[in-house]
């Protein structure tokens, strides 16, 4: 039978104390608002059209990384959690890009009448 052990003795409290401060959470929140405002802003600027897609993707990646690193605590928590999230995420990104490329190739041949 397991003997009662306090959470502190098991190192859990110390583990959680590494989480960012409330001020950091607020700064990340403000940054997320600003990045979202920039995203929506550049969507309405006609001059941005040629570089709109890369700009939006960079901003989305930045927002994703901020939430994952600070709000989901991947920056300070065990690296095992980062691995459990980032490895499937990498596979997911490869699947999305692979399927888009494959189907673009398929549609290109369909339009040209080869299939």
């Amino acid at each position: 039978m397991t003997a009662p052990v306090s959470a502190e003795a098991l190192g859990l409290a110390a583990h959680e104390h590494h989480h960012p401060s409330t001020a950091t959470y607020l700064k990340v929140g403000i940054t997320l608002i600003i990045l979202t405002a920039v995203e929506v802003g550049i969507y309405y600027v006609p001059q941005m059209r040629p570089i709109l897609v890369p700009c939006l993707l960079i901003l989305a990646i930045a927002k994703f990384a901020l939430v994952a690193a600070f709000y989901m605590h991947l920056k300070t928590d065990s690296r095992l959690f980062s691995g459990l999230f980032l490895f499937p995420l990498l596979i997911a990104v490869v699947i999305v890009i692979g399927l888009i490329a494959l189907m673009a190739y398929h549609f290109a041949f369909a339009i040209s009448g080869h299939i």
Binding site: A13, M72, I91, V96
Partner: protein, 209 residues
């Protein structure tokens, strides 16, 4: 069962980490695959609809009536802001739980639940207006892939709201001491995941023409 023995059971793993946190991260990893399949489907069929309404271009109905692009960017931008702020709310609730501030947990969880409900309400309004403008699940490829992708995301948000509400009730009853903050931590991780999925959907579906 005491709190300490609960933690002791969680740590009976080779990782030395709370087993429920390992489980939620594994689940989130599998959810990445799930949403990757839905996002892939949307992206593959993007621009392939033979009939309107279209997301980013005007549409002339059979009767000659001209409709604007169907996506409502201002409304969705507000929804995105609301969901991002709900993530801030839940992380502040978690910080309060770890400090042992019951009042802080209850306040921030209520804020989070209100913001999450506003997001779901916005999505219901959006879906309703789309149906009235002629975009249904069966209308075209855009309708099918859009409703499935955003509908499953909305279902995840709704499940998250139910989960957070149960934790709010636990906190109100005084059963969420600092050594049980991991219960909120797990729900918060799920909520943040739903948030990051929306960050991707907002960019790929709404903003990229």
């Amino acid at each position: 069962m005491s709190h300490a023995s609960t933690y002791a059971m969680e740590l009976e793993t080779t990782t030395g980490l709370p087993s429920r946190k390992v489980a939620i991260w594994t689940f989130i990893g599998s959810e990445c695959m799930f949403f990757a399949s839905l996002i892939s489907t949307y992206m593959v069929y993007k621009g392939k609809s033979l009939a309107g309404p279209y997301p980013h271009t005007p549409y002339t109905a059979a009767g000659g009536e001209v409709f604007k692009p169907i996506l409502n960017i201002p409304l969705t931008s507000v929804s995105t802001f609301v969901l991002l702020m709900s993530s801030l709310g839940v992380v502040l609730a978690l910080a309060a739980a770890q400090r042992g501030s019951r009042k802080g947990v209850i306040t921030w969880l209520i804020v989070t639940i209100i913001l999450g409900s506003m997001f779901v309400g916005g999505q219901v309004y959006e879906f309703n207006s789309f149906v009235h403008e002629g975009l249904t699940l069966k209308q075209n490829l855009f309708g099918a892939s859009f409703f499935v992708l955003t509908g499953f995301h909305g279902a995840h948000v709704t499940i998250g709201l139910i989960w957070l509400t149960t934790i709010l009730i636990t906190a109100i009853r005084g059963k969420l001491p600092p050594d049980r903050a991991v219960n909120l931590d797990i729900a918060a991780l799920y909520w943040h995941f739903v948030d990051v999925v929306w960050i991707v959907i907002f960019t790929l579906v709404y903003l990229i023409p």
